[in-house]
């Protein structure tokens, strides 16, 4: 088994509690996420703000300790890996952050930012490390004179290129990208997406791509998982999910992201209310409070994931 496999991942946070902290409450940010990213493929994780997709991506790389569930990479259990094993795994699994303004240390030059990972992992001598940093910098499309500058001297798009260079300098097999373009201007988004596309083709990278933007997911991902309130409610090949969404939530999401074509005019969907609080999730199916097709059963029990077509899973009582 190669690649990343995530089974029933859970991540709960406790807020409050303790001395004078009031009653402790559990925020179920990630309740049930299962997915797999085969080597060389690109999986999208999509959902609206607050659905737990970012938390899930962080828990997968153990930037947050998962509460329960199993994450394996090439058969190695990530959650129970020893510090030494984890260091080796970290070399192979990298993260691209959403906010290019917060993800670079403003006091370190680009050279230091790019050479430090190599140094920490004991790769090469100083001359080799310099060469590799220079190679990766030009690979992400930045001039060599950027090397001795500091993050504040760059624009958002350039910073994101640096963030991508830092993630790739260790030559990982898997890159988890948490909304890598959503903090950027639309024109810059396209540049960065094209860069990621090029890099993926050149380097046989696997991607777990987290986004709230269906357009980006459609462009970039072979497989898509739709998340709602900590659950993966639907997963399958991107094309099929976009053309023929099954879960009522996916249908809604799909309609909220119109195609710019006057012949295909759609009514904006009338979705009621906000996403419920993960600190106080509804009973049964998490989506029943807003689902236009909910019935009694939906309030009672959580639907299990069913395979409705090859490689296509839906967690809904309608199927």
């Amino acid at each position: 088994m190669t690649g990343l496999k995530v089974e029933s991942l859970k991540k709960h946070f406790t807020i409050g509690g303790g001395f004078l902290g009031g009653k402790a409450r559990t925020v179920r940010a990630v309740e049930n996420v299962s997915l797999s990213v085969a080597l060389g493929s690109c999986v999208g994780l999509v959902g609206e703000s607050g659905c737990g997709k970012s938390t899930a991506s962080r828990a997968i790389l153990r930037l947050e300790e998962p509460t329960a569930g199993r994450v394996t990479f090439d058969g190695i259990d990530v959650a129970s890996a020893s510090p030494a094993q984890m260091r080796r795994l970290r070399q192979r699994m990298q993260f691209i952050f959403q906010d290019p303004y917060a993800s670079l240390n403003s006091r370190r030059s680009i050279r230091k930012t790019l050479e430090e990972p190599l140094k920490v992992h004991g790769i090469g001598d100083p001359a080799e490390r310099r060469d590799r940093a220079e190679a990766i910098l030009s690979e992400v499309g930045l001039p060599q004179d950027a090397m001795d500058r500091f993050p504040h001297e760059f624009s958002g798009g350039q910073r994101q290129r640096i963030g991508i260079a830092r993630a790739l300098v260790l030559e990982p097999d898997l890159v988890v990208a948490d909304e890598p373009v959503s903090a950027l201007d639309v024109s810059v988004q396209a540049q960065i997406l094209r860069l990621l596309d090029d890099l993926r083709d050149k380097r046989t990278l696997s991607f777990l791509f987290v986004s709230h933007d269906l357009g980006v997911i459609r462009h970039f991902c072979d497989t898509t998982c739709v998340m709602y309130l900590g659950h993966v409610v639907e997963s399958g090949p991107t094309q099929e999910i976009m053309d023929d969404p099954a879960h009522p939530y996916t249908v809604l999401l799909r309609q909220s992201s119109p195609i710019p074509d006057p012949a295909n005019r759609v009514d904006p969907p009338r979705i009621a209310g906000e996403i419920p609080s993960p600190a106080n999730p509804p009973s049964g199916c998490p989506f029943h409070t807003r689902c236009p097709r909910a019935f009694a059963e939906c309030r009672e029990s959580m639907p299990a994931a069913k395979e409705i077509a090859p490689g296509r899973q839906v967690a809904c009582h309608l199927f």
């Binding site: 930037l63 990298q94 952050f97 403003s106 030009s138 499309g141 930045l142 950027a146 001297e153 290129r161």
Partner: protein
């Protein structure tokens, strides 16, 4: 390879220097401090007399062309003693704050980064330390260790460690949640590297600003401890010691107390101005508030 059409913007001017420039008062503080520092370094050249040489014939003389600031009850020149006393004050102030800053920041960054029970335990101890008045704590430690220059430095360092733990911990907790720290973890950096190489430089400015304020406090504490006889022992001239010796004759010979007090006042004032100016320069949002 994708072509990048945007150019990299030019380097931004140094904001710190700009803000310091805009604030005239800060230059008064810096100038005053430079003057004090120079008089400490060049005390042997500047002092008109030997600070230790007693001359019973000239005892308790007021300011005169020969003894600008008068003489004390042993006939020693007050100006010379004041200049030499600057050395002790600055040395104690600087070294004790350096020790307190190093130890306190290390503990504070550790507590903030590790969090949980360890953090609560450390902060509990810090609160206990902070609940003692600085002078009382210094007094206890100095009395325990015995009076000498080294012990005085250690005593003051101990009293000022707790505030630095607090000052280092708070920005560490906010830095810990920043994505560049998470990026370090994702890249497999050790916690020690993240704390020392990534968090420390980012919170150092917060710490240095406060250090200049605490140095003023250290100089005050040194003077107070010397005043009650727990500091550097006579005949080494110290400002606090001079005030104590002059105290007996305060009604007849005012210069014995007034000039060392002024020296303390000016030094503390200069350090406080510098601290405030540095804080304003680093955080322009606080400008105008004191």
């Amino acid at each position: 390879m994708t072509a990048v059409t945007e150019t990299i913007p030019a380097r931004k001017p140094n904001v710190l220097l700009q803000t310091l420039n805009r604030n005239r008062l800060s230059w008064v503080g810096i100038g005053l401090l430079a003057l004090i520092l120079l008089s400490a370094i060049f005390a042997p050249l500047l002092a008109p007399h030997d600070p230790l040489q007693q001359n019973i014939l000239n005892r308790l003389e007021g300011p005169s062309p020969e003894f600008w600031l008068g003489t004390d009850s042993y006939g020693r020149d007050v100006l010379s003693r004041l200049l030499y006393g600057t050395r002790v004050s600055l040395l104690v102030g600087f070294l004790s704050v350096l020790i307190a800053m190093t130890v306190g920041s290390a503990i504070g960054i550790f507590a903030g980064y590790v969090g949980g029970m360890v953090d609560q335990l450390i902060m509990g101890l810090v609160d206990v330390m902070l609940s003692f008045p600085t002078l009382l704590l210094g007094l206890m430690v100095a009395a325990m260790l015995g009076a000498s220059l080294e012990n005085l430095i250690i005593a003051i360092a101990i009293t000022e460690t707790a505030p630095f733990v607090r000052i280092a911990r708070a920005p560490t907790i906010s830095a810990k949640r920043k994505e560049y720290v998470e990026a370090g973890r994702a890249l497999g950096f050790s916690p020690l590297r993240i704390m020392g190489v990534h968090i420390l430089p980012n919170i150092l400015s917060d710490i240095v600003v406060v250090a200049s304020l605490w140095m003023a406090s250290a100089i005050r504490t040194e003077a107070s401890l010397s005043f009650i006889g727990l500091g550097v022992q006579p005949p080494t001239p110290t400002w606090g010691g001079m005030i104590r010796e002059g105290f007996e004759n305060i009604l007849s010979s005012w210069w014995l107390v007034v000039f060392p007090s002024l020296a303390i006042l000016l030094t503390v004032l200069a350090l406080n101005i510098l601290g405030d100016a540095l804080r304003d320069a680093i955080d322009p949002k606080l400008k105008g508030e004191s």
